[in-house]
C-alpha cells in the first residue's frame, strides 16, 4: 500500500515505540494498522495513544464515541481508521445499517446518534467555533456541555493522525480509488463487451428480419411476466422476517392466474411463444 511509510511490527519498530505497541497488542490481541504506521514516530504514537485513552474516559457512551470517530475518519478519508472502527462498532453490537450509514457518511436514523454526528461535522467545518445554534441543538438532545467539549477535543486527536498520510504516497492512491467505487459498478465492465457483440452480430450473423407473418405475442409475454413476478414476490415475502400472509396468497393467486392464462393462450394461438408438445420429445427432455 504505502511506499513511504512502513507498517511496523513490535520487532521492527524504533525501540522507543516498542513499549507502547506491546501495550496495544496485549490489550487488543493485534496491532491496528494506524498504530503500526505511526510507530515510525514514537512521539506521534505516544501522543495518539494518550489522547485515545482520554477519549475512552469520556462521559459519552461507547456508541456515541464511535459515531464521533467515524464522522471524522470518513471526512478525512482515513481508510485504516474506518476499517478499525467499523470492526469496533460490530463488536459493540451496532446494527449493520448504522455501520454502513457511518461508512458512507450519510445521515443516521437514530436521532440521538445523528445529533452527535451532525455536531461533530459542525466542529470540523468551523474549526471548533460551532456557534450558539448548533450548540443548543446538541444540548437540547440530552447531551452535556462537557460532552460538547469532548467532541471538540477529539478533533485534535484525529488532526494528529490525519497529518500522518494513512494511505500513503502517490503509489498507493490508484488502489484506494478503486475501493471507492460502488461494488455494482463492476458490471459496467460488460458494456464494451456487449457493444462489441452487438456490432459483430450485425456484421456477421446471417438472416434478415425474421418471419413477418408470425407476429410476436405481447399479451402472452405479459401473462408469463405476471406469473413469474407473482411467484418471485411470494417467495421473497415468505423469506422476510415477519411476512404478510395476505400478500403471499394474493401474489400466488396472481401467479396462478397468469400461468393459466398463458397456457390457455399458447394452445389456441396459431403461432405460440412456446409449443408445449416439444416437451414430449425424449431427446429434448433428456438433454
Amino acid at each position: 500500500m504505502s511506499t513511504w511509510f512502513t507498517d511496523h511490527t513490535v520487532e521492527s519498530a524504533p525501540p522507543a515505540a516498542r513499549r507502547a505497541m506491546t501495550g496495544v497488542r496485549n490489550e487488543r490481541g493485534y496491532v491496528p494498522a494506524a498504530v503500526a504506521r505511526m510507530a515510525a514516530s514514537p512521539q506521534l504514537l505516544d501522543g495518539f495513544l494518550r489522547l485515545s485513552k482520554m477519549f475512552e474516559g469520556s462521559t459519552l457512551d461507547p456508541l456515541a464515541r464511535e459515531v464521533v470517530v467515524m464522522a471524522i475518519a470518513t471526512r478525512n478519508d482515513c481508510h485504516v481508521c474506518v476499517a478499525m472502527h467499523s470492526a469496533r462498532l460490530t463488536g459493540l453490537g451496532a446494527e449493520p445499517d448504522l455501520i454502513s450509514a457511518l461508512r458512507s457518511a450519510t445521515p443516521l436514523r437514530d436521532t440521538r446518534l445523528e445529533t452527535v454526528r451532525a455536531f461533530t461535522l459542525r466542529v470540523l467545518d468551523t474549526a471548533g467555533a460551532v456557534g450558539d445554534e448548533a450548540l443548543s441543538e446538541f444540548l437540547g438532545n440530552g447531551f452535556t456541555p462537557q460532552q460538547a467539549l469532548e467532541v471538540a477535543r477529539h478533533r485534535r486527536l484525529h488532526d494528529v493522525h490525519a497529518r500522518e498520510p494513512a494511505d500513503g504516497s502517490a503509489g498507493g492512491r490508484p488502489a484506494q480509488r478503486v475501493q471507492h467505487f460502488w461494488w455494482g459498478s463492476v458490471f459496467l465492465l460488460n458494456i464494451p463487451v456487449v457493444l462489441l457483440a452487438l456490432a459483430a452480430t450485425v456484421a456477421v450473423v446471417p438472416g434478415g428480419s425474421g418471419h413477418r407473418d408470425r407476429p410476436w405475442d405481447l399479451i402472452a409475454s405479459l401473462q408469463a411476466m405476471v406469473a413469474l413476478a407473482g411467484l418471485v414476490y411470494a417467495v421473497q415475502e415468505a423469506a422476510k422476517p415477519g411476512p404478510m400472509p395476505l400478500a403471499i396468497v394474493l401474489a400466488l393467486l396472481a401467479a396462478a392466474a397468469g400461468a393459466w392464462a398463458f397456457a390457455r393462450r399458447q394452445r389456441r394461438q396459431a403461432y405460440p411463444l412456446i409449443d408445449f408438445s416439444l416437451f414430449r420429445n425424449r431427446s429434448l427432455l433428456a438433454g
Binding site: 493485534y30 460490530t90 453490537g93 431427446s283 429434448l284 433428456a286 438433454g287
Partner: protein, 225 residues
C-alpha cells in the same frame, strides 16, 4: 433439459463452494481464489471440442452419461484433495491441490453441456429451433438458480446447526462464517483463533455434505442416461 439443469446446478454449486472455501477458510484473496476456480474452464474447453467430434458416432445420451460420471468422480477428487477438509491432506497444504479435481469436473460437465445442447436442439423440428434454443437457455438459468439455492441452503443450515461458539464470541458469529470472521477481528489473538477454527470446522461440515450430495446427484444422473 434434465442434463442441462443438472450440469449447470453442479457447476454453479461447486463454484460457490470453492470460492467461499478458498477465501473464508484458507484466506486467499478473491483474485487468487478466482484464478484457481478457472481450472474448471481449463478442463471443459478442450473436451468440448472432442465431444463435438464424437457426438456423431455415439449419439448424445452415452456422452451425457459418461460426462456426468466423470463429473461425479471429479467432485469426489476435489473433496478428497481439499486441504484440511478430510483427513487426507493437512490444512497447511497448498490450495492448488483442488485443481486436479476441478479439471476433471470441468471436463465431465463440459461434455454434458455440449451433448445436452445437441440433444435439445436436435430434438425439435427445424421450424421450432428457436423455441428449443430458448428452452436450452432457460434450463441453464434454472440450473444455476437451483445450484445456488440448494448448495447455499445446505452450507448455511449445516453451519448454523453445527457451530460451537466459544463463550467470548458475539452471537452474530453463529449466523455465517463471514460474520464469524468479522467478529474475530476485534477479539484478542488467542480467542480470535479459537473462533475462526470453530467457524472453519462448521463451514467444512457443510462443504463436505454439499460436495457429497453433488457427487451422488451426478452419479445418479449418469445411471439415468
Amino acid at each position: 433439459m434434465i442434463a442441462a439443469v443438472l450440469a449447470m446446478a453442479a457447476t454453479v454449486g461447486i463454484e460457490l463452494l470453492l470460492t467461499q472455501r478458498l477465501q473464508l477458510v484458507m484466506g486467499l484473496t478473491p483474485l487468487h481464489a478466482g484464478l484457481i476456480v478457472t481450472a474448471f474452464a481449463a478442463g471443459s474447453l478442450p473436451v468440448g471440442v472432442l465431444a463435438g467430434g464424437l457426438l456423431h458416432r455415439t449419439g448424445a445420451r452415452p456422452l451425457i452419461g459418461a460426462g456426468l460420471l466423470l463429473g461425479a468422480l471429479g467432485v469426489l477428487v476435489t473433496l478428497l484433495l481439499t486441504p484440511g477438509a478430510v483427513a487426507l491432506l493437512g490444512s497447511g497444504r497448498s490450495p492448488a491441490w483442488v485443481v486436479p479435481g476441478l479439471v476433471l469436473v470441468g471436463a465431465g460437465l463440459g461434455i454434458v453441456m455440449v451433448a445436452a445442447s445437441v440433444a435439445i436442439i436436435g430434438g425439435a423440428p427445424p421450424e421450432r429451433a428457436g423455441m428449443a434454443s430458448s428452452i436450452e437457455s432457460a434450463s441453464y438459468e434454472l440450473g444455476s438458480l437451483a445450484g445456488v439455492t440448494v448448495i447455499g441452503t445446505i452450507l448455511t443450515a449445516v453451519y448454523t446447526q453445527t457451530i460451537h461458539l466459544p463463550a467470548t464470541a458475539s452471537a452474530r458469529a453463529a449466523g455465517s462464517i463471514d460474520q464469524a470472521r468479522a467478529a474475530a477481528g476485534h477479539l484478542p489473538a488467542g480467542q480470535a483463533r479459537t473462533l475462526l477454527d470453530a467457524a472453519a470446522g462448521a463451514f467444512d461440515n457443510g462443504y463436505i455434505l454439499a460436495l457429497a450430495i453433488t457427487a451422488i446427484a451426478l452419479a445418479a444422473g449418469s445411471v439415468l442416461f
